[in-house]
Symmetry: C2
Subunit: 215 residues, 2 copies
Amino acid sequence: MQTSKVFFDVVMSLDGFIAPEGMDLAHANDPEYKQWMNKWMALQQWVFRQKFFRENLHLGEGGETGQDNRMMEETFQRTSVSIMGKNMFNGGEQFWPEEAPFHTPVFVLTDQIRNPWQRPGDTTFYFVNDGIESALHQAREVAGNGDIRIAGGANCIQQYLNAGLIDEFTIHYVPVFFGHGTSLFAHMNPEIKVKMRETIPSKEVVHITYEVEKK
Amino acid sequence: MQTSKVFFDVVMSLDGFIAPEGMDLAHANDPEYKQWMNKWMALQQWVFRQKFFRENLHLGEGGETGQDNRMMEETFQRTSVSIMGKNMFNGGEQFWPEEAPFHTPVFVLTDQIRNPWQRPGDTTFYFVNDGIESALHQAREVAGNGDIRIAGGANCIQQYLNAGLIDEFTIHYVPVFFGHGTSLFAHMNPEIKVKMRETIPSKEVVHITYEVEKK
């Protein structure tokens, strides 16, 4: 029996964006452009305060150890494999530390033909050129009973969700407005039915987990 | 001292819409168009089950009397005056029962010049032609210490929110996807800062109340 779940887990602004306008390869070195860095930090500041996140990215000692931290650590622990789109990979390739923060196999949806790229700390990127179902199939082969995380970005998540391939997902709702940016749910298929499973309010963030109903 | 609050309170789909595509005057009598009626009912079904709502619209006996019902009743009770945009009024004018469900003064932002329209049950619509600040000023004059509800639609809410005139708001998050529709926060000013005040999870809906930070 397949017990492995396919899930995603993202931080979203109140107006529905997971990245601000201007946060792209063209403006990666221009954090003042459209104030993208300030907006990103307003969305992610609660993440940067968590002990688990700080340790995983070697950002330094200390950090919060409450409920938010526990959730982040559990999400990391359950993830046996990740799948990501090419935009997320191209951005991350420049900005992740040498020891990329995944520590698992990562399948990258791309048109680039490239040999697997192994990083220190057990992250290996595999490049998949034949679509989302193939990437998921390859991910299942190495995931065992562990879970498969659709890491992002929004376009990649939308494709998996609209294809009915996601089992569950968590959104961390943060009370900031971006005005413009990358919308998580820009092109949803209204036939996809979900229900709420759990709501966990923290001080500054509300974490809601949804389950996708299977036909 | 001014103790009256200006607020809004809306039901939103998971992808950020407060009304589905096709729910407009042109298709009001064609509920199959883009399946707008089915989508609307999926968003609002928890509302139609509440005792308070059923009584207020004379929909019949019975209904739920739990937390969701209490919230709806409290929202009604705190509202001394409502303000709405012309699209909401034009739609409602056709579909509200003769005894319109407000039972208070309602200021309508419109370019139509029209005498006040008094309905049975103490709802009177006043037509305001000189902008959102004027409507709010007129609303404050009759609200006393009661609260002022910006009833909708999305455009009207965005205008008040972006002008810094809202004190607090509640969003009822419902796990349905519309795909297309009227986006609540399509054009937000990222300078508007909010914080979470209260999260109340119900079985099928999560109610989150936000406070707007004043400069």
